[in-house]
């Protein structure tokens, strides 16, 4: 009951204020000129990005350099987490070693369902990323969906299962590096042909064999997909190191 009073006060304030300011708010029915420019130009027009998805064409073409540097912020955040969890070779082996009494994961039902779901998640995330220039979605969203698959495996089996079958921190980082390198290369390619950095049209072909790929957008989406997926997988693997092992490594005994 005591908690209800602030709630009621807040609600009353909101509705009262809303009643007061509702006629004074500007009517938000018109497009801003800049938004209209993007809508008109994204596929047709002189400054076209050859993509029907206006958001993606802003993201990787019109305001590509913005996104380029935001990707570097993402890169730095992941690097920051990795630095906090920095381990040397011996400690890394210790973290990878399976405890002897470990029996592994949740019940059989969860495990077998996880196997099937992981396949479907991989397919769906790839679909989100590869159709970023046609439908809502793109590299960021696809990569975040991709990172769910290793997370599910960590939850249902254990991080050891993931590492034993070849996906350890180093490989996830390699995947992320491939993605970031690809983004940088695709951004730099136009300079070779006398364009400007992150230029899309007309340097990259808009269609390959009649299939719309929107120039560089599909490559950016693909590499961003790998970079985001790999980066988050690496961090999840580090977060999954058991508390006991980490306390041993840090030398903080209970």
């Amino acid at each position: 009951m005591k908690k209800l009073i602030p709630l009621i006060v807040i609600l009353l304030t909101i509705f009262g204020l809303a009643h007061y300011i509702a006629p004074k708010l500007p009517p938000q029915t018109e497009l801003r000129p800049l938004g209209e420019f993007y809508l008109k130009n994204s596929y047709f027009g002189e400054y076209s990005a050859k993509s029907p998805e206006v958001v993606t064409s802003i993201l990787w073409d019109y305001r590509g350099v913005d996104t380029f540097f935001e990707t570097s912020v993402f890169f730095l955040a992941i690097i920051g987490s990795l630095t906090v969890f920095r381990l040397n070779k011996k400690e890394e082996r210790l973290a990878k070693q399976k405890p002897k009494e470990f029996t592994g994961g949740l019940t059989l039902v969860v495990k077998s369902v996880t196997k099937i779901i992981v396949v479907m998640i991989l397919a769906v995330s790839a679909s989100i990323a590869l159709h970023g220039h046609l439908t809502p979605g793109g590299g960021f969203q696809g990569g975040s969906a991709l990172a769910v698959a290793p997370l599910l495996i960590i939850a249902a089996y254990s991080k050891y299962a993931l590492e034993e079958h070849g996906l350890d921190k180093t490989r996830a980082l390699i995947l992320r590096s491939i993605g970031l390198l690809g983004i940088a290369l695709v951004a730099l390619v136009p300079l070779l042909t006398g364009g400007f950095i992150m230029q899309n049209q007309p340097i990259f072909p808009a269609e390959i064999k009649g299939q719309l790929v929107s120039g560089s957008l599909i490559y950016y989406n693909l590499f961003e997909f790998l970079a985001v997926g790999g980066g988050f997988t690496a961090v999840f693997l580090l977060l999954a190191i058991p508390e006991k092992v980490f306390k041993e490594i840090l030398g903080v005994g209970e």
Binding site: K115, A123, S127, L130, Q211
Partner: protein
């Protein structure tokens, strides 16, 4: 190379269904993604390719789906509705032996039991399932198995064994 084709098929169907269109672009990228996923995950999903691609098993799976959704679900729902109205219930957890061998068959049986109202599998070990049952009529494992999951097991054996 074990299990690549069935896994790739599953991935491809998911990809196309999620995309929701079959332009050549979708199909080409779908095939590439499906092959990649199949090569990555195939050996963990499938133990026997011929079994996974056997059409008879798939037909049984479709029949099971129809039977389960139309008959088993309806029966369980009606039973629970009657119990809710009359208040005639006696809940408890019983031990039920698992008579199927493969992992997927066990999963199917356990999920089928859980998905019908009135019964929930709360735990599972090598030989027994522990089922939370809305109306415990017997604690004898064999009799309980007959009442709860005999039909499911029959189908599960046809589909997965």
């Amino acid at each position: 190379m074990r299990g690549v084709i069935p896994t790739a098929l599953l991935a491809f169907i998911t990809y196309v269904a999620f995309t929701g269109s079959i332009r050549p672009f979708d199909l080409i990228t779908g095939v590439i993604v499906a092959l990649g996923v199949g090569l990555l995950m195939g050996k963990y999903l499938v133990k026997n390719d011929a079994k996974a691609l056997n059409p008879v098993r798939w037909i049984w799976a479709v029949i099971y789906l129809l039977w389960y959704m139309l008959v088993a679900e309806t029966r369980a729902h009606l039973d629970v509705i009657v119990r809710i109205i009359t208040g005639n219930y006696n809940p408890g957890i019983v031990r039920v032996p698992v008579n199927v061998k493969t992992d997927y068959a066990k999963t199917l049986v356990a999920n089928s039991i859980t998905n019908t109202p009135g019964t929930v599998v709360v735990d599972l070990d090598d030989d027994y399932m522990y089922v939370n049952w809305i109306n415990v009529t017997t604690v004898d494992p064999e009799v309980a198995r007959k009442e709860i999951c005999e039909d499911f097991e029959k189908f599960a054996r046809r589909i997965f064994e």
